[in-house]
Amino acid sequence: MPDRVLRGGFLLRCVAALVAGLLVAPTLVVIPLSFTGKASFAFPPEDWSLRWYRNFFTSGAWAESLLTSLQVAVVVAVVATAIGTAAAVALSHVRFRAKGLVTGMLLTPIVVPQIVTAVAIYSAFLTWGLAGTLPGFIAAHVVLAIPYVLIAVSSSLQGYDTRLDQAAAILGATPWRRFRRVTLPLILPGVLSGAVFAFVTSLDEVVIAFYLQSPTLRTLPVKMFSSVTVETDPTIAAASSLLVVFTTAAILLPQLLRRDPARSRNSGGQP
């Protein structure tokens, strides 16, 4: 009985709950900490206040770094999704000998140690004048995010029937229109989760961003990293909580939007 297998026994459920707890607990500790009234990391907090959030949003450096992070992550999500989707569609269409090699190259950013990538990008960007600039952050994070988009879109293309392309073609649709009206709507779940991965990858990337920072331009994780070494107040807990909220929202949003794709698309009104 598949039902039985899926439901599992009591022991299995306990183990699952334990593992889930261990994975989530550290993240959850940081949220109460951010509401502490004292300038210490004592857990559990003795009294409650919003002072660290006030500090976060009123001290220019913190709020600015959050804004930089969000700007970079949004642009990275858009650019990496476009490039990664194009690459996935192209690779699914063609069959040539070097296909494996090309796929491998596109995936290297996840395989190569990030510190190596960081050093390489930093030295290149220094000569190109991109270090410490917004385009620099974006370009570096796009490279990191492309593999995630490629993987997500490729897997949804596996179930895609290429005969639909033939049908659309003979019905008069140009290649771009075929992609726009047939392929894209059908692989949209993969594209959306690729975009979420790209957004989150950029939002919490710290190694490359650390190299690329300038005194006036740094992302939130970099700001957090350097703040631990100089100051020890719970503003960092507030920053962490905000990061948790943003990433969780990014991951949950498409899930909520995608409840019933057929129905929502039907009522979309396109004839």
């Binding site: 008069g172 057929a262 004839p271």
Partner: protein, 358 residues
Amino acid sequence: MSHRIAARGAEVTLEHLTKRYGSAAPAVDDVSLTIRPGEFMTLLGPSGSGKTTTLNMIAGFVEPTTGRILVDGKNVAKLPPHKRDIGMVFQHYALFPHMSAAQNVAFPLQERKVSKAEVASRVSEALELVQLGHLADRLPRQLSGGQQQRVALARALVYDPPVLLMDEPLGALDKKLREQLQVEISRIHREVGTTFVFVTHDQEEALALSDRIAVFNNGVIEQVGTAEELYEQPKTLFVAEFLGKSNVFVGTAQGETLTVGDVTLRLPRPESGSRALVVRPERMRLHPDAPQPPTAGNALHGVVSNHVYLGSEHRITVELGTGTSVTVTETAAARSDARPGDSVWITWEPQDSSVIPA
């Protein structure tokens, strides 16, 4: 009432069409064929015979190695599919799963920038044509296989293509539904006047639907003709054996006789050289005794080895003394009551047989 009645079919001419993949034997080898405007032409053959490759070359999915494809005199061989203005129905429907039946049918019109109002009226007209007006808002997965194929048909016809290609469109359906849709496809063909090019490996389907049939084998066309021509006067052994059942006697012809071992058979016309005589099972009669007096026809003696009742007919296998066997079919109205073990005489008239080079 309809603009569609005015639609006319195009003439499709294939000139020395060849498709080679690598160094293997060509999938399609120097095929030439003229399909008349408004004709229902079936490309019939076993799998791997080149019929589907030929269809895909007309559609533009496969580029010919050499040769030309003329649609009303214009060479389209180098055009991409979306510029050919040809309709196509696929074996597995290929409906867009995220669009309703009506949206699927509207697709080719929208790609042609037809106005919204006209799209709406032509979509409902096309869905009426296939009798699916009431299911316009269903998604493909909410429709049965037969209904999906009707939507595909409406989608392929809604923009009045002068040519409609069909790639085994009934292959995925069960027998009853298949026969129902055959009737419907015939009706639609008469109504719209488009040139239909239909690919199938099912000879019964080909006989039932087509104005003419091109029989494919090993990348070449063996014979083109009406169903009756192919059945009654096959030009090659392959055609004789692929369409219906045949009894084939191979021997040496001289004048109006064919010598097969120590038996002499009469031919419908004078021939010479190595020939095969083809006799359809329903053209043969069984008699308990030797025909008296000897007729101008053919008579062979044998013993009934098998009898199969098929409802509408009886199929009787007769072993000849020479070790070959002959199949005879009889209807209930002309039943000889021959049973296994019976000694029988098989007779047929020479004009009921055909001769082909062997």
